[in-house]
Amino acid sequence: MTEAYKNPNSMPRLVLTLFAITAVTSLLLGLVNYITKDIIRKQQEEKEAAAMAFVLPPAINEETGYSFTELEYTGSDAIVEKVFKAEDLLSSQYASYYVVLVSPSGFGGEINMAVGIDRNKTVIGVSIISMSETSGLGSNASSPGFLNQYVGGSGEFAVSKDGGEIDALTGATVTSRAVTAGVNSALKAVSILDKEG
């Protein structure tokens, strides 16, 4: 064995060296992962929660905020990513809302957005988490002026060009349609869930 090991191109030597290197490396990696994984998870959760809370009225209890529980979405709409039920547990008046994460495709790819909906299936807030729309055109979709058009509405939205009530962003009808489609999908998802129970 030792004899074979001395020859740099012998089979055992090759195998053992590569094994040793990968093993040590993965050990190190495993350890680092062990340390960082919780931090990473927490961060992601916080980010999502922040985005979701953004589309809801301020939580009554500012300290704990809402608690979110993910509901199982059974519909077939591919735009809908996740549906959450948001509950303001500690408040005296119990409030519960839906937050739907949708990702319609816009001009430059998917638009990730969150739509807040109350029990009457009225939109209470729309926020864009991330998008890659053209800055100056499509990116104006994140402006409150545009998004607030949806707040308070329900049913089915459409862009004015298609005979609806939403004024499209100038020069960015594609983006406007996408956002509208996202809101519509969110509303539909909630109504399906509501029907189910």
């Binding site: 195998v15 590569l18 093993a23 990696l29």
Partner: protein, 278 residues
């Protein structure tokens, strides 16, 4: 913590597996390769950047060893790599004498008469296609100064100055690519150490030369007479220097009635036109 153990186990085994595969392949698929090719490959940076124009370092190494590709193509490696490769390939320029190209013509614009106005492509070979196949200068041996050689030189060592080609002896590596393309055969190879040159290529007799050129060799043999070292001889109406004998004393330079013979040290700095002649 189990995750860490999994990690070590899985990846370690994966590593071992591939080590095994590769070891197996290395043994089963072994192909004889020129030892030098491996060495050259070692020497190359291994960046596989493709800057050499070959598909990666190994391909370039193979090309050097098998196809005699130039050894100076690796951009990433720099001069050290070139030196190392030349060491491996045994093409160390074994302290042989260095040669450079030299244009045997001083027929600058205004000094050599022209037969006609040439109107065409600035290329010596093209010019030779017109008006009888000798170009537009009266002297049939002269440099045409249209720079075909300049384009052939990879080292920016030859330039047209006042209508004749002039070699920059510092930059020239003596590859003679210029001479190969020159349709006039006026470029010769001289030792880098040579100081005295006769920049004329005309084999015509004196009176004929006088008619068309202000500096051309008229075969008067004065240089032959003044040379104390028997280093310059007129054959076929043209003076030739024997560089084995020439000691660069400069006597011939002084005495040449045509002011033709050139002392490179004083008369012409590399890349500058001849001052002695004008």
């Amino acid at each position: 913590m189990t995750n860490v153990i999994y990690a070590v186990a899985v990846l370690g085994l994966l590593g071992a597996f591939f080590g095994l595969v590769l070891a197996f392949a290395a043994r089963k698929f072994a192909v004889e390769v020129d030892e030098r090719q491996l060495q050259v490959e070692e020497t190359l940076p291994g960046a596989n950047c493709g800057g050499c124009g070959y598909a990666g370092c190994a391909a370039y190494a193979a090309a050097i060893v098998n196809e005699g590709a130039p050894i100076n193509l690796c951009v990433a490696g720099g001069s050290q790599v070139i030196a190392d490769i030349s060491h491996i390939m045994g093409i160390e320029s074994a302290e042989t004498e260095r040669f450079v190209a030299h244009v045997r013509c001083s027929g600058c614009t205004g000094i050599a008469r022209e037969k006609f106005e040439y109107d065409g492509i600035p290329d010596c070979v093209a010019a030779m296609r017109l008006g009888g196949g000798q170009g537009f200068k009266e002297c049939s041996a002269s440099c045409l100064g249209l720079g075909t050689c300049v384009r052939a030189c990879q080292f920016d060592a030859i330039h047209i100055i006042d209508g004749v080609a002039v070699v920059d002896h510092e930059k020239c590596v003596g590859c003679m690519a210029c001479a190969e393309v020159c349709p006039k055969d006026v470029i010769e190879k001289i030792p880098y150490s040579a100081n005295i040159t006769v920049p004329c290529n005309s084999l015509d007799k004196g009176p004929v030369v006088r008619k068309y050129c202000d500096v051309g060799c008229i075969a008067c043999k004065i240089c032959e007479r003044v040379c104390e070292y028997d280093a310059i001889h007129v054959t076929d109406n043209l003076a030739h220097i024997d560089y084995d004998k020439c000691v660069s004393c400069g006597k011939c330079v002084e005495k040449c009635p045509r002011n033709l013979i050139l002392d490179i040290r004083t008369d012409r700095k590399a890349g500058e036109p001849s001052t002695a002649n004008s």
